[in-house]
């Protein structure tokens, strides 16, 4: 029991020196990557940059104790930071203590929600997010974040919200462009884009090992940060209008609890829930993928608790919502992280930086941080996914495209809500018109196939129908209408046999529809039969009145039904070895 909630008790027991070394190396690499990222994503969340560092210590320690994924690296991530800015921006103005307090409350609330979901095993709540919706939403958020960085490249004020707000704000303020900032931005962007592809081959050519080259490449944002700090300091650019990070206090703020402001909590409830769910889904996806590669297990319920604990840890550190980062976790995995201890070592690394490096951050231009964000969020934009979805399922593709549009135009909360509702509605719509085949017998066999696709024979007065979908409320009426239509159009029908091998369940609405059909067919002089009802469906039907009221019979096989109802026309072959299942 204790081990379930404290996975550290399992892996901690076998901890040895080789494991320690592997974790330490992974931690060093992730720390190098995490420092500029946490500063940048803090800015994205509308917080002072150093709060990103605060959010990258205690949460990592907590995850190391409670988490079940070995390489998962928690901390500030782009999507959650933008969602934080959108939610908190509605209740307070950036740069005020109220803004920070609201961000802390948001982290606390979503953390508490995650912990509760974990204890109640509410993993199914993530089931509302379909892949196309999540992918469309993430792409749109990537575009919104990238567009939101533009103002930093020009050194001007801007607007937040939808894409039109952002672009309109840019246009309005373009007159105040600061040339020095533009130069720094262009240099940073060019370097970072080049480093992604060009740096590693050069390092390898220069004789460095594959591993070292990879690490040094991952550290590219660190060089950009260091170089632009130097340039800004040398040329006194902060006196020439280049916005810099400015004074960052050494060390950590005193741990505290979030404000107990019920009105604020109520306002932040929905955003906190969205942040919890989206953060969880993103995290669990990467955790599961990396675990499966090594045949390791993660516990999705425990991950709720670990992530929730980490988020509460961020709130106690006085900072904003965090979650598991995709790129960071993959780096950690590739660098050989063997236990969650790697995360704890990363926390120590970030803590050391907080105590030593912060004075140097004074001259760091915000434009450099914006450039690192810009380059990394472009990977969120996945146009191939849209193409793939359109090809496989055009209807879901349209839903995805609309999710992208709504998110871009109206912002993150409307976007995700719209996507969820639309994907459910599309599914209900598809489910409301199931495929129905009228069946005929393949001559000389006991098999029945769609009369429109195969050369089959039908017994007169008997209508055989196979419904290729579970029966539930979206299609209950359809099934009723469909059967009434068929018997109204052919007066000779005396028996309707529903072939049910594709029906995995029948809900109450569908049961009542079948009872209604049974009654109405009876009045019209037609009997209703069922065939090939599945075991679990049959188990439930025996608890209903349909079984007792049914005017016809329930047959084990469709052949049995036809052989009983029309023995003269049904001449099956007694032995058939192959079941043809591509129908």
């Amino acid at each position: 029991m204790l081990k379930r909630y404290l996975p550290i008790l399992s892996w901690g027991r076998d901890y040895d020196r080789p494991t320690f070394e592997a974790d330490l190396i992974a931690a060093v690499i992730v720390t190098i990557m995490l420092i500029p990222q946490s500063l940048a994503y803090s800015l994205l969340a509308g917080m002072p940059p150093e709060y990103g560092l605060y959010a990258s210590v205690l949460p990592l320690l907590i995850y190391a104790v409670f988490g079940t994924s070995r390489p998962l690296a928690v901390g500030p991530v782009a999507v959650i930071s933008l969602m934080t800015a959108a939610a908190v921006g509605k209740v307070a103005a950036q740069g005020t203590p109220e803004y920070i307090a609201a961000a802390v409350a948001l982290a606390f609330l979503s953390g508490v929600m995650l912990v509760i979901m974990g204890f109640l095993r509410m993993g199914f709540i993530t089931a509302f997010l379909s892949h196309p919706v999540l992918s469309g939403f993430t792409s749109a958020v990537g575009i919104l974040i990238a567009a939101g960085q533009m103002k930093h490249f020009f050194g001007i004020q801007g607007e937040s919200g939808g894409i039109f707000d952002i672009l309109g704000g840019l246009w309005a303020h373009l007159g105040q462009t600061n040339g020095y900032t533009v130069v720094i931005s262009i240099l940073s962007l060019v370097f970072l884009f080049w480093a992604r592809r060009g740096l590693k081959p050069r390092l390898l050519k220069a004789g460095l090992s594959e591993r070292l080259a990879a690490i040094l490449t991952r550290a590219a944002p660190v060089y950009a940060v260091a170089a632009t700090i130097l340039i800004t300091w040398l040329f006194g650019l902060e006196g020439r209008g280049v916005r810099v990070v400015g004074t960052v206090p050494l060390g950590f703020p005193t741990p505290s609890l979030p404000p107990a402001d019920l009105a604020l909590w109520k306002e932040l409830f929905v955003p906190a829930l969205l942040i919890a769910i989206i953060g969880y889904v993103e995290t669990i996806s990467v955790a599961q993928t990396l675990a499966a590669k090594k045949r390791q297990r993660i516990d999705p319920d425990q991950e709720f608790i670990a992530l929730g604990g980490a988020s509460i840890g961020s709130a106690i550190s006085g900072s904003f919502p965090i979650t598991g980062g995709f790129a960071r976790s993959v780096v950690s995995f590739e660098a050989g992280a063997t236990t969650p201890a790697a995360g704890a070592f990363t926390a120590i690394g970030v803590a050391l930086a907080t105590f030593t490096l912060t004075p140097a951050l004074y001259y760091l231009p915000q434009a450099t941080l914006a450039a690192t964000i810009f380059v990394s969020v472009l990977t969120l934009v996945d146009t191939k996914a849209l193409k793939r979805t359109f090809k496989y399922a055009p209807r879901e593709g349209i839903g995805m495209a609309l999710t992208v549009l709504v998110t871009l135009i109206w912002g993150v909360e409307d976007g995700i809500a719209f996507g969820v509702i639309l994907s459910i509605a599309l599914r209900l719509w598809a489910s409301s018109r199931p495929h129905v085949a009228e069946l005929g017998q393949v001559p000389g066999t006991e098999h029945f196939r769609n009369v429109q696709r195969h050369r089959v024979s039908c017994a007169p007065g008997i209508l055989s129908l196979r419904i290729d979908e579970s029966l539930w409320f979206p299609n209950a009426r359809f099934v009723e209408e469909m059967i009434y239509d068929r018997i109204a159009s052919d007066e000779s029908i005396k028996h309707v046999v529903l072939n049910c091998p594709a029906i995995n369940h029948i809900d109450m609405s569908a049961l009542e529809a079948l009872e209604e059909v049974n009654d109405q067919l009876n009045d019209a002089g037609v009997r209703l039969h069922l065939s090939e009802v599945k075991g679990p469906v049959m188990d439930r039907l025996t608890r209903s009145d349909l079984i007792t009221h049914l005017t016809g019979q329930i047959y084990l096989t469709h052949y049995d039904a036809l052989a009983t109802l029309a023995p003269e026309t049904t001449q099956g072959c007694a032995h058939e070895s192959r079941i043809e299942t591509h129908r």
Copy 2:
């Protein structure tokens, strides 16, 4: 084309004398029933009683032209009237011209929505209402309406809204009880309840024909109305505090269009949509049931148009939303209505009453109308449905009970919205944890069964899984987790074979989950195979990358898969005649 939109062109051509006589008799009976009902339901909608008559002429004529159901009787109905009162009560005070204008706008809006849904063939929108939700909602509305009549029985003021508002309002005003009103109420209630069961046997005993006895019984509210008018007039009770209908103008108001008030329309948008959908679902249910009994057809898309037209007709008549009435249509059907002309004749009957009877209505006590409402809405309360649902599907039963509670406590709009969301959520939840069986071979056959239920043999190194549900976003993650869990817990597995006969479709989320599984299993040294994939599912899969990336094969039968992967352990029998489908 014209005939599709004007069904009158079809049945009108063959109209003859016997049909005319049958329709006329049905019309007389329905008229007798409709007059007190339309007065009462008008009161329930918060309108002056005569507006119920206005709503029972033009709409019936319009339905006769556009409708496809022969016995359907449109007009004011209880549920829609209460929904009207709830919606209009939010934007205007009862008794004001604004209230009537808003009710007219509501009828117009929901009529226009219905017509649009009809042209766009949006029948699937009704698929969001499950039977348990609708039944729970209707029962709760029945209770709310019955409780709402109490104030009329005591002749006092009251509150509307949820059940606590209504009961609280009663309690607060009980001091103003009018004794004469109480006596009239008790007499009316006792008579009406007795008439339901006791009147017909007495009339039959007195030697009347079955048919005449039935008609005279249905007219019971008319006797109550006549008797209490007489009593009130004789004893001058309206001077003793008994509320009466009062002055009703002869004839009809001038036809007019609803106010073009955009702000009002926006406010009434959601209630109008709910009224349109619920009114349509109730109507189509009774229309379909009655048509099926005689192997007749109705056209659900055309019914949208006919009902929408009828509702717009009510708005033009200056009145409130109407729809098809259940009891009234059954009476019309039983009385032998043969074509929609019966409805037109009913309209003429009501119009005659409006020109002749209205002066007599002056002394009609509101308590009598309340009593007729009270007696008829109690049939809406269906406690057996709750019991039946709990027995067949306990989870849906809980959803139904909660819908009843929410509707009772918070009123009609919150109630129906809650029910719809809950029923979808419950279904997604159930779908997110599908039944999965690990399969083994029934020795000596080519059949595979659940290892936990049958004595079967498994080939070493091969995991056979059958998922008994379509794969879509609510269970995509579950399937991934489930497979990862299995391969993590058994290092010997080298092949996973998914047996897919129960999978009716695979959406994009599930496709991506399968691709992910395929990749991760590959990294873990396991191959993924599929067997018995259905034709339509296969058609779509060929458009995806999964087919090309799949590390294993797709087999026609599960036996083929096992025979290929583990030929030495798979000894099937070559000939098997019977397919056992209860799994």
